[in-house]
Subunit: 708 residues, 2 copies
């Protein structure tokens, strides 16, 4: 039993306000439930009828004489609470509220949705919606939605894939559109669930259910925002452990999209960086198109993960071959030349104007008589190839160039991914023949390449975050310090306590100490005002760099203090921090972003203008270990600057990775209190020479624990 | 009459080697020609038959008793030349060689294809192919191909768009796949032509024909390489002037794709920068997917160009609305909030849980009773909206939410683009209803957004390159100078003659002149070795920067000469060039790339590591005028550095644009002789302060005129 089985596979379903009029939603619910073969008890509830189309109708839910598993509520919003109370009193286990007019509706009573939440918590009755479009369970034959997409008489698609995909969507229209398009691709589904406003049950609850549901092999999400991040994380982790892939379309990425999503679901969508970091953490593949999400899900459900990114393309058209090569390259895949032996074998059965290199152009002639699948067989045996893409034409209404049973036999081995694309629209015969063999025909070349790329990702399991040493208790205590910014020297002392390398420095309070400090540190020096009240020192005239002698140092000291006084007359000044000028290196930024949904996200980026102009940053949920920090660094487009660009010496990436991991642990430990943390720039020196943290900003939340 | 009418709309067609066996290509040709309703004379030629399926068959083409317009040749390669000679002798006007086994075939006789080219030139008979898949002319009902995609009995798609699209493809498989998929989208076609190896007629000839052809409204290309760049440019220019849009899929972009294309078509594909620059020059839209190319062509053929990038989305699903907003933003389009008046009017007929802002969520209820098209009507009247995207569901097999005649009326006005997407697969009823109204349903959200973006581009006509002053005759003479690199001071003198601003400098040949030069120029100075034999001065130890006094200058002079001597003992040294160190500014690279197909391409890029790491460069065919050069500069992702980044002063973009245009004119004038030209870096100073060309490299082709 999966946790929401009484909701998604109920033995009895009541329709509150049931009607014989199928043009009304309440009537359509009853109609589809019966039409699609629900075998449990149907309980229409409406005082206006004694029976509807031959089913006894009850005046109240209480009079039904049984604790029903699921009640569907599609009556006007102002009657919903009373109906819920009656359901709860009658022992109804689950309710889906399909009615609109709640938090998504500007004109609704402001507290209406909160009252639903409270009712669920008070009574224990689980509630999905309001403003939900219901669900459809293909396995248990439960249609609890009015979506015309579940009208099974209207299509007759051959099924290619027996493994079932579950869909959880915060937009019913999009959830059922995925179902509609997915069946046309030959996919099978378990349940399609529309979650609506999520007053009680959220997307995370349904994902958790599907992870437990033995009939669900992979999960597709269409989502705007995650209301229960902890629940979602637990479900995503469980999915990972169960080997059930999740593919997500996340909308509300653009500014206008965010606004639209907010008006639609009554919750402001979170920041992209947080979602992307979370998806990465749990190995969730992100898609932006319906067919893309379906293609990826189909590829993951039908194939073993790819062991690497080496693809062989088998085609019957030279043009299709060259085009495939471009599409694969765009998706980050490689098309290595085949071994001389494999090429020789292929050449033995194709004409001389074909190509055996890769992409393999068998030509129409060479593909005949089993040449296509003979080639696939050779590639399955070739250890230099990780997956196989067959690019052909299935348009012929009278003939299919792929022998069904042979193809079925090859696919059933599941030795490597085998993906199929027809550049023409498949004829009915073509689609049926390959579907019977268990092959999905991808809807476009780009989708084929995207699916192949997702299979490569799926073959690279994300290692769990390594255990790291806890931060010193003195640091943890310090993170509960009085709110507001810390002066740089305080922040650096904290970083040093955590194990970061911090430059030698002197905090000077009197001109009398300048000479001694300079003697200790050596010229050239940097001098910086230190005050919790002046977090942005440069703007305050509080920073002077490249000081080369004692006279300049004395002038700098006086100037900095005078500037600070002018900038912030009442600020408490800790002094002027002197540090040796840093040796040259590559400028990097390390920071944290506080995602409102997922908490601290650690960021590493190229320094200077590059971060902003080229958005050359990588984000991960905090904490990360050194291995993940190293991955982050190497994902920067400007990573070559760190690894020996144009003959320059390689930089100290291991030291940088340690620092990134350390910052992420600090952000994690301070998730309740750290509002801002940025090391900018960190100057990374050549291999073995470490880094210099040129500046550090740490701000503790001024309003008590964040997110409380 | 369009120029290839006797080929593409012949009155008589001979099939050389005609056969009653439709499993043979020669038999299929005859079969399809008859089946698809060719009304002209069919001339089977085969000594083995006296008639085939009731048509008289001739032993030789000469015996047919008429000069036929078109002969189709699909006999084995080794018999093709003899057949061509017979055709030419019999006065055949055009031949299509479908046979393979020529330049695309490693095993073919090396000179076979050249002999075909020579025969065409000698006899005047026009030849398409070899290795072509023929053509299909929908208007004249001429099927001269064996592609199963022309088997019209196998589909029954409603036609949405009467304007016909022509297809020219260097891959027959892909050309006919475009036809196959396009009809399913409801598009109409004129001719689909497969050009094969292009021994005589090239892609450019067929494009030129379609520009003249009154039945062709837009042209789709699938191409690997352009063999006749001048002919193509003329055809593309004519298309632009005739208002016929061209959409191109260019394959062979990746390294493996290039190789595959080369093996397929026996010609090495050109560099991408050249193709992209050429496509930009002629306003050709580039696509990478079949459905993308079809969607763009459909959008351009069915709609007026968009006046701007402001899109309104009308939908019945909040989720679809937010998703649309993301997709439009990804495609560079804006979704402005609608005016208060328009919003109020929409709110008057939608429920309170809908949204009138943009994206407009009418909800299913609000869309009923004509709400959808009423909204479209409002948006057609709203001057703040440039195009309209309707995002809905057409899956319902029994009902369509769009009234056909009303939609037809709105579309027929052609006031603004109106694009339609169904997130579910349209039912047969849905597709037919909107097709009858003249609306194409785009195959995905991304394709819809891509089409909308192409309509915006189409609304921004590319201004012709302005006339610019010819370069001084002294410069033109200099470009015929002895081959090889020029020393920097020579190149700079040339640039100065063309009108570029070049820093004051002194070429010093003796230490005795150093003091005088320094007095004239002022410290700090840069000193650089000058020798045509040392084009890469830094690597030779020939550059010293930031020289601040006389002693350092004397040391620098001696060191540079000593380094040069060591680096290139036999080089003729012109001297050491002294220049004042440049003021600060933004580093930019200006260069030219010599495209093997399209000649000189001018490039502007961000300086330093940015060019290489982030590929932040923009390319255009040379020459460009200052307006186009300004566009190029603003297209750089690092353009903000030039326009006042983070409060910095704006740089002198007008001066930079003048320099880019000047370099492009120099490259154009020197297209026969200039092998390399790069100004790197150009330091652009603040507005009104011009630029400093820090280094200039100009290399004249060592092997005589390029491309000769």
């Amino acid at each position: 039993m999966a946790r929401l089985d009484t909701l998604l596979a109920p033995r009895s379903v009541a329709v509150i306000g049931a009607s014989p009029d199928t043009h009304k939603i309440r009537g359509a619910l009853l109609h589809f439930l019966r039409k699609n073969g629900f075998t449990g008890r149907i309980v229409p509830v409406n005082p206006s009828y004694t029976e509807i189309n031959g089913i006894p109708c009850y005046p109240t839910i209480a009079s039904a004489g049984e604790k029903v598993d699921l009640a569907l509520v599609a009556i006007p919003a102002n009657g919903v609470l009373a109906a819920l109370e009656e359901c709860a009193a009658a022992g109804v286990r689950n309710v889906i509220i399909i009615s609109s007019g709640f938090a998504e509706d500007e004109a609704s009573a402001p507290d209406l949705q909160h009252q639903i939440t409270a009712l669920a918590q008070r009574t224990g009755m689980r509630i999905s919606g309001p403003n939900a479009e219901g669900f459809h369970n293909e396995v248990a034959k439960v249609t609890a939605t009015f979506s015309p997409a579940v009208d099974r008489e209207t299509d007759d698609h051959p099924v290619a894939l027996q493994a079932r995909i579950g869909i959880v969507a915060q937009s019913g229209g999009m959830g059922f559109a995925l179902f509609n398009r997915g069946r046309a691709l030959g996919l099978s589904f378990s349940s399609i669930v529309s979650t609506g406003n999520e007053a009680d049950l959220t997307l995370a609850d349904f994902v958790a259910h599907m992870v437990e549901d033995p009939d669900t092999a992979a999960i597709l999400l269409f989502l705007e925002s995650i209301r229960d991040p902890a629940g979602f994380a637990a479900a995503a982790q469980a999915a990972k452990e169960a080997g059930k892939f999740i593919v997500a379309i996340k909308i509300g990425r653009s500014a206008v999209g965010k606004l639209a999503a907010a008006s639609h679901t009554a919750s402001m969508a979170g920041w992209d960086t947080g979602y992307d970091a979370m998806f990465h953490r749990y190995g969730i593949t992100v898609a932006t198109e319906l067919d893309e999400a379906l293609s990826i899900a189909a590829a993951l459900a039908a194939n073993p993960p790819a062991k690497g990114n080496r693809v062989a393309v088998v085609t019957v058209s030279g043009g299709a071959g060259a085009w495939s090569a471009d599409a694969m390259a765009d998706a980050g895949l490689e098309l290595p030349a085949l071994s001389a032996a494999t090429q020789a074998e292929i050449r033995s059965f194709i004409p001389s104007y074909g190509a055996a290199r890769n992409p393999i152009d068998l030509t129409a002639q060479g593909a005949q008589g089993g040449g296509m699948l003979r080639t696939v067989g050779l590639l399955l045996d070739d250890p230099a190839i990780d997956q196989i893409a067959v690019v052909t034409s299935l348009a012929n209404p009278a003939r299919v160039s792929l022998d069904g049973p042979t193809l079925a036999g090859l696919l059933a081995q599941r030795r490597k991914p085998v993906l199929l694309y027809s550049y023409t629209l498949p004829s009915d015969l073509g689609r049926r023949a390959v579907a019977e063999a268990g092959a999905v025909v991808f809807p476009s070349m780009a989708m084929l390449a995207r699916a192949a790329s997702a299979l490569v990702q799926a073959g690279q399991p994300i290692s769990p975050v390594g255990e790291s040493e806890p931060l010193p208790s003195s640091v943890l205590a310090r993170l509960a310090y009085p709110a507001g910014p810390m002066a740089e020297h305080v922040a650096k002392a904290l970083l040093a306590e955590c194990g970061a390398v911090v430059s030698p420095s002197r905090l000077v309070n009197s001109p009398a100490h300048l000479a001694d400090a300079a003697a200790q540190l050596g010229f050239p020096l940097a001098a910086k005002i230190q005050s919790a009240a002046i977090p942005h020192k440069t703007e305050a005239g509080g920073v002077l760099l490249g000081i080369t002698d004692q006279a300049a140092l004395e002038r700098a000291y006086a100037d900095i203090l005078a500037n600070a006084k002018r900038h912030a007359p009442n600020a408490t000044i800790d002094g002027v921090l002197l540090e040796p000028m840093a040796a040259k290196g590559v400028e990097i930024i390390i920071g944290i972003i506080r995602d409102p949904t997922f908490g601290p996200v650690v960021m590493v980026g190229a320094g200077g203008v590059t971060t902003e102009l080229f958005k050359d940053t990588v984000h991960r949920l905090a904490p990360v270990d050194e291995a993940e920090a190293t991955d982050m660094i190497h994902l920067l487009r400007s990573a070559p600057l760190l690894t020996g660009f144009r003959g320059a010496p390689a930089a100290d990436v291991p030291a940088l990775a340690r620092l990134v991991a350390l910052v992420s642990r600090l952000a994690d430990a301070g998730r309740e209190t750290v509002a801002e943390l940025e090391l900018n720039p960190v100057i990374v020196h050549s291999a073995g020479q470490g880094y210099t943290i040129a500046d550090a900003l740490l701000v503790l939340s001024p309003a008590g624990p964040i997110g409380a």
